[in-house]
Symmetry: C2
Subunit: 446 residues, 2 copies
Amino acid sequence: MKKKKMHLLQYMMPPVTHHSSATWKPRNMTMTNAFQWNRPEIWQEVAQIAERGKLDAVFFADTEGIYSEYENSYKSAVRYASQVPCYEPSVLMAFMGAVTKHIGLTMTFSVAGYPPYILARKLATLDHLSRGRVGWNVVTAFHKNASENLGLSVEQYHLSHDQRYDRLEEYMEVCYKLWDSWEPDAIVMDAENNIFADPEKVHPINHEGKWFKCKGPLNIDRSPQGRPVILQAGQSSRGIQFAAKHAELIFTLQPDREAMKVYYNRLKEGAVKAGRDPDDVRVCFGLQVFVGETEEIARAKAALHNSLVPAEAGVTILSGHLGYDLSKHGLDELIADLKVPGIQGMIDAYKHSSSKNITIREAGMLHGRGVMTPQLVGSPEQVADWMEETMKEVGGDGFLLSPAYLPGSLEEFVELVVPILQKRGLARTEYVENGTLRDNLKALNA
Amino acid sequence: MKKKKMHLLQYMMPPVTHHSSATWKPRNMTMTNAFQWNRPEIWQEVAQIAERGKLDAVFFADTEGIYSEYENSYKSAVRYASQVPCYEPSVLMAFMGAVTKHIGLTMTFSVAGYPPYILARKLATLDHLSRGRVGWNVVTAFHKNASENLGLSVEQYHLSHDQRYDRLEEYMEVCYKLWDSWEPDAIVMDAENNIFADPEKVHPINHEGKWFKCKGPLNIDRSPQGRPVILQAGQSSRGIQFAAKHAELIFTLQPDREAMKVYYNRLKEGAVKAGRDPDDVRVCFGLQVFVGETEEIARAKAALHNSLVPAEAGVTILSGHLGYDLSKHGLDELIADLKVPGIQGMIDAYKHSSSKNITIREAGMLHGRGVMTPQLVGSPEQVADWMEETMKEVGGDGFLLSPAYLPGSLEEFVELVVPILQKRGLARTEYVENGTLRDNLKALNA
């Protein structure tokens, strides 16, 4: 029987930290460059290594603000580089696209700050210039400082979770209409008759909905993929419903195989309910890999990395996620004693730590070192074994690699683990010739 | 006496036409590539040629819609590629920045569709990744289809000209505050003490004005230039006042030296009134150059180019500029007979054509072949002479080159004209080592 291959994506937060608060620390590990987050070269190198490893895509998370819940101030986030600085991802992706040919360029954009026309246009531009390699991770989030930065109206900021998803559904509808507004063969370039494009094959969208008005057509011809690949990371039940309907690639952070399986099954059932082929809805699990030539080397690396993470950096992020200022409590108080909405979900997610009964400090360490991404530590064979077994047991479609250091941790994975996965028939060995990101996603297990 | 050097910028509209409706026509002239507007390579080549010629910057105009005034439809613009397709310029500039080191990357963004935070963040990202080469051409315009695409409220769309400039002044204020929100030495990267950045050197902006609310700080550290170079092309008296106050580089399309001189003097007087050194307010005049080894070759090229321009393409643009549907009139009616607001300004601008008393068709040709940019046709020496004399007579600071075909017309200018200007001490021969765009602007005549 032919084995199922895994999708592999490289997670990043556009500088300076990603899932790990230690990432910025210079030469903390096997880094080939000191970490210069504000230079394109290091990101271009990451994209090239990912392409060498035949990964599906590189991915950038994004945010339009600084977590300011902890101590009711942005200061802790700035001090610990807790998801700040954070660059505009499409510009960064363009620099990476300029030195690569195959790797997918996928990134988060929130629908909070942009009219759909502007976002649809930006993504279509990048899809053209990268020859069809763009993916968009759709996010509704209005985090507090982002809302304050964008000057959102009080009504907008206080939208309920469900209202945000209603608004998002309409946002997607407008984007789809814009991307479809030029037929594939609209451009004729008939110089003799002065016809650049056939106007009968370009259509206004005349959208007038509850949330948005947009006349169209898009002022950009149809890009190679038409619509970019849609990504999603929804965890709420409404989020999962949205993902099952729209997404082609889904990320999730789950503490163990049991939880992965529950999520995976919910998503696939949702896809069927939404009338889609469940194989088109690919679920990838977040994973922070430490790999070395031997298990001992890997363990030593993980230990060094984890020792470089300050708990406060993670508590700052956790306060942001909860929308609650944890500085009101001592670091040694138990998470389970907090009376905070959303805390039970966190506690469930801590299952992969030794005990549910952890302190704020311990929770901070978990958030600071990987925002709850499970760490996988071992020799190349051990890492490959765990990934293979997880896929077999859970039924997942692949992994989203969260870097503990860059470009070192990706480079080690590509050098040490990918060849084993390829040998076992579990990973891509060639890209589709002149293929788009969607072509490559579809071809993996075709 | 040391001669004054000219600033030189390359104008473009991100694909497919620029100031000339003939640009898209494949191999219409000495093009080294068939014109593939949707591939990065041709734009990267343009940037590299401009850098070889030691120009200050490449420049992209931008619009978020399709001119739909003519026949009350987008169809004519689509047919003739009248400023459509038009790609998002920052993404395109990033691809160009990835293959160059010195050339400035300047582009238009309208303040209509974005909160200031989003635009400030995008420009700061590009300024980081390009090592300080970014310039922003500030535009307030709400053209009709763009407004309809962005879903602007009725109140926003019906802002008066002066209200738009009031709003713009506040927009700039918010951007400046955001760009200044990180002190230059805020980042300390002290790994031992877990301090990435010193939070006391990062400041909220707490802006609450008439038009915008923004808390800040920017979630991006200070970029090499801090604030990007500000460009402007205002023609109205309020526009000129804005430019004199904010802009470091100003573009203008003027029909002849007399008009150039009037504009130039107004700008410099405005700069003095605004308390600025008039040398910091550089005025560049639009120019469409046809140059050949001999005058005859240049004339033949111009004739071919102009014959490839359909009048309707220009009438479509002119209708957009006037906000008036010229299809209600025959192409042979006289422009002077139209009862349209703004028409007198156009008539004045037509002075460089043989007669003020031109028909709609003739006006369309002028708009279609260069949106009223004067054409300069001649041998390399003749072109250099005209440019030198114009600078001497008018007192201007340089030129904005409008391409009739790409990359050919830029390549010819760089190969044939630039060496003459350099030899005469009228053009840059070296960039400032590791200099930003602003460093290069300041150093030219320092």
